[in-house]
């Protein structure tokens, strides 16, 4: 009976061994094509060079693919002991697989009917980290095991442990123990205390759940568990454990993930990836010098944050609604260099770059392009008289369009400069109707606007979406008196040896003549000095500047785009879901109240300590004070006067006063009445009143 039992047992065991051998052989031949080759040296697995991104003022704003591989001697022995105790206590005794651990894991998995426990040794984990995906399945597990066997056969234990310590993920973006020590304790891995080492050793198992920055209690529980494991494995004494638990862990503050530079960095990376490929930037070990001024960027962030916080307290908002957002772009006029780019109020909350990718309706801030086209095409000047009155425009195939003014009032006869200063919608609609949307679109393209623009009359009121990046660039053409510099983000790119691989060269194009553009610039100065943007002056900004506010229907978007001699900046404020920014029924945030203060806070700090710089006046420009209603040179009877800048050839003098009953001249026609409607085509160089 016993003999039979032994015989059966013998057969079973033999069959088992044979099965294992056959299964392993079969698996090997099945998987051999998918098994990866091992490198000759584990020290080289971390050698891809990091790419560094710098601001124009020399601050390193981002490192990509940063690794800090170190040798085992540079790692605190507390850490190596702790990681062995908690991850693989029989590390120095097995050859890639821990029999006991495996049986334990098998039992757990079979009893739970799922892969609940890995039972992976350090070698297996390294094998997985180096070659395999993180999905849990048996085939991947077997491959991982086979490679673990090979790792053990090829490298010694210290080499494996060192590679493991340099590879594993510790949460908070830290790969490798050196970086983890920096992230959590701002110290070198060799200087870790027992408690700190135990905390780090507990992280690879659950880098997010036991992350001390977000789950401090859990992290400390895990640390205690690691210390207990160390005691059980006789790696430390109970006294040492107790002593360390009483010590201070000295956890530092987490790195700020809401770094506002990251909106700009994302844009830089996108551009390089598009031009040169992903590998080039992430594995090239490059040094990228950008145009960003980190000081400006901080100011942009602070200005937006402070003002948005103030606005949040005023606006009516649904509970739990998304926060109010802002975007800001500042461009250096003479070069096109983007000096600041804020894509949102908090990068950690939302990485969507509203400065570039968010095309929102610009509202009235598009009007300067309409006015400029009218002045160029119809021979109008800032002193040309137009009539602000109810208007209905027939649009073939649709309902007639009746644009409304923001204040729903009409100013009557008014000169162009005043109309722009007051941002009168009717006048903008009239001008676009006269000149045609195609010509306005063509002008906008010359200003560098690339977004699609609707070929319709409502374009006059800024109904085609634009980004702050485009607006800042287009406004810089005005500040530059017609020279368009393509905005750019990258100054140069160097390889790791310092050889320049890419350089930006200034390539300004004179799109418009200075004397054509200066009248518009002067009109936009009027907007800030006495128009819808006068909040800028009220807030104490004294530098010469020109700009334009913009507010869209229902207060959904608030814009302020403006420039000084050197910098053009565009600010947008609004909700991501296009909700109105209402303060109370019928009232809401406008470009002047929501966006302009951010512009002022930002520019005031940017220009702090700098002397005001006037815009250069082209040779063929003359200044004159005109009557704001007739557009003729002001006299003692003028009720309201305004200084305008016009081209030299523009005649601003009033025609002689006519007798009460004028007689026909020799042509048989009556002379034009003063200030009366005139054919604009006939009077290129005179003040004209367009036929409504």
């Amino acid at each position: 009976m016993i003999g039979r039992l032994l015989h059966t047992l013998n057969l079973v065991l033999l069959t088992l061994i044979l099965s294992v051998v056959l299964v392993v052989a079969g698996l090997y031949f099945w998987l051999s094509q998918d098994l990866p080759q091992l490198p000759n040296n584990l020290q080289h697995i971390n050698l891809s060079l990091p790419t560094e991104i710098y601001s124009s003022d020399g601050e390193r704003i981002k490192i990509l693919g940063e690794r800090h591989p170190i040798v085992l001697e540079d790692i605190s022995p507390f850490f190596t002991k702790a990681i062995i105790a908690v991850e693989d206590s029989r590390f120095y005794r097995h050859s890639g697989i821990d029999h006991r651990g495996l049986v334990r894991a098998l039992w757990t998995n079979l009893s739970q009917k799922r892969i609940a426990q890995g039972g992976s040794t350090i070698t297996q984990q390294l094998s997985k980290n180096l070659f395999f995906s993180f999905e849990r399945n048996w085939v991947r597990k077997i491959k991982e095991l086979l490679i673990a066997f090979q790792l053990e056969a090829t490298f010694n234990k210290d080499q494996i442990l060192q590679a493991y310590c340099n590879q594993i993920y510790f949460g908070s973006g830290a790969y490798g123990v050196e970086e983890a020590a920096q992230v959590y304790f701002r110290k070198r891995a060799k200087d870790l205390t027992l408690l700190q080492a135990a905390l780090l050793a507990g992280l690879p198992n659950s880098p997010n759940n036991a992350n001390p920055f977000s789950h401090y209690e859990k992290a400390m529980k895990r640390t205690e568990y690691v210390l207990n494991r160390m005691v059980r494995e006789h790696l430390i004494t109970t006294d040492e454990k107790e002593l360390s638990l009483q010590s201070n862990i000295d956890l530092v503050n987490p790195r700020v993930d809401s770094d506002p530079n990251l909106y700009f960095v994302d844009q830089v990376l996108e551009q390089i990836e598009r031009d040169y490929g992903k590998e080039f930037v992430h594995f090239g070990g490059l040094k990228i010098l950008t145009t960003l001024d980190s000081h400006y960027q901080k100011l942009a962030f602070k200005s937006a944050r402070n003002h948005l916080e103030a606005l949040e307290g005023k606006i009516v908002k649904e509970p739990g609604a998304a926060p109010l957002q802002a975007a800001l772009v500042a461009i250096e006029n003479k070069s096109g260099a983007v000096r600041a780019m804020l894509g949102g109020r908090d990068y950690s909350y939302s990485q969507f770059n509203r400065a570039v990718s968010n095309n929102r309706l610009p509202g009235s801030s598009f009007k300067p392009f309409v006015y400029f086209t009218a002045m160029e095409e119809l021979g109008y000047s800032p002193a040309t008289v137009v009539v602000d009155e109810p208007l209905t425009l027939d649009i073939p195939g649709t309902e007639p369009w009746s644009p409304q003014n923001f204040d729903e009032e009409f100013a009557g006869k008014i000169i162009l400069k005043k109309a722009l200063m007051k941002s009168i919608n009717i006048i903008s609609a009239k001008l676009l109707n006269e000149v045609g949307p195609e010509k306005v679109i063509r002008t906008a393209r010359q200003f560098g606007i690339k977004s699609p623009l609707g070929k319709n009359l409502s374009l006059a009121l800024g109904t085609s979406g634009l980004s702050p990046y485009e607006m800042a660039s287009a406004y810089s053409v005005i500040a530059n008196l017609g020279i368009y510099n393509e905005p750019y983000l990258i100054q140069h790119i160097e390889d790791f040896q310092g050889n320049r691989l890419y350089e930006h060269y200034y390539q300004g194009v004179q799109q418009f003549l200075p004397d054509s553009l200066f009248p518009l610039l002067n009109m936009m100065q009027g907007v800030i000095d006495e128009g819808t943007g006068k909040v800028v002056r009220r807030m104490g900004f004294h530098h010469p500047a020109g700009g334009k506010t913009g507010t869209t229907n229902d207060f959904k978007d608030a814009w302020f785009n403006a420039f000084t001699k050197d910098i053009s900046a565009s600010v947008w404020v609004g909700f991501d879901n296009n909700e109105p920014m209402r303060v109370k029924p019928g009232k809401g945030l406008t470009g002047a109240s929501a966006a302009a203060p951010i512009w002022v806070f930002f520019m005031q700090k940017v220009l702090e300590g700098k002397s005001p710089v006037k815009f250069p006046v082209p040779d063929k420009i003359k200044f004159a004070t005109v009557d704001a209603q007739t557009g003729y040179l002001a006299n003692e009877f003028s009720l309201e006067t305004l200084e305008v800048a016009v081209k030299e050839g523009v005649d601003l003098s009033a025609p002689p006063v006519l007798p009460k009953n004028p007689e026909p001249d020799e042509t048989g026609l009556l002379p034009d009445p003063v200030g009366g409607p005139m054919n604009p085509k006939k009077s290129k160089k005179r003040n004209v009143v367009p036929d409504p």
Partner: protein
Amino acid sequence: MKFNGVRKSWHVAAGLIVLTAVLSLEFYTNLFEKSVGYYLKWQNHKRPQLGRMWERDRQSLVAQAKIKSIRSSLDLQEETALGISSFKHLFEGLSPGFPLVVSREKFLQLYYDFPGPWSEQIISSYDLIEMDSTKNWDRVFLKRFGPWITLQFIDRQNIPIHELFLSVDTLFEVQATRTVKRGTLEDSNFTTNRIFPISEFLPVLKSLDAATQKAVFPEPRWFLGKNYYVTRVGISDVPAEQPAQHLLLGVEYDTDYYTGVLLIPVAMELANNMMSQIEKADLSDPTSNEIPPSSGESP
């Protein structure tokens, strides 16, 4: 029967002993893992480079290849720029959309290498000194845009210190004031009776005022610095194509490898004047270097 039973038991016991030995061996020496590990190590080179690590390696290689290709392209551009031998080549090499960058040193070399005062028309040498005084001038960025050529004198950060625009027409027009050709004066259609040894021409040249000297003859450094040995000069008997009312003065020189001619358009009146003076000198005293002052007569 009994014997069979004993033999069976012995087999079982032996089997168990072997099994125990194998299991013990595995337990204490990890024989199985080591065997598989060493077998895989032996087969390592036959297996493909798959997985995350190799992928990273491959991407790194792709990046390095890209960097190498960019660098060789830039090196080629730099070599091309270094190989430019004259302003003529520099400007002719410019095409719209393909800007060119030359170093400060190269620009100065070309600037002073032009056989005539034409470079001064691009930018005055005093302006160059002024620009250089800030020690910022690093390179010159040239680009062609329609009929215009833009020259930006840039600093190390590529910020323009000085910018100027030249019309392509003007450039080519002025460049025509100095033409270099391979061959002798005869090859350039100069007639024998209007060709003179340099020794006969130089006294006449010396007699001219400084401005006229510059207009008709390059700085002697141009020949001396290049080891060009000036041998003869000739004055053409047919008007030059550009500009009008000009004759060509040809200066023949020998180099170590070939003979070349520098052609300079000279106002017809001046050319004839020089011609008459040379002939007069020939008639009066062929050995004398003394040239009588110009009579001021037109031939």
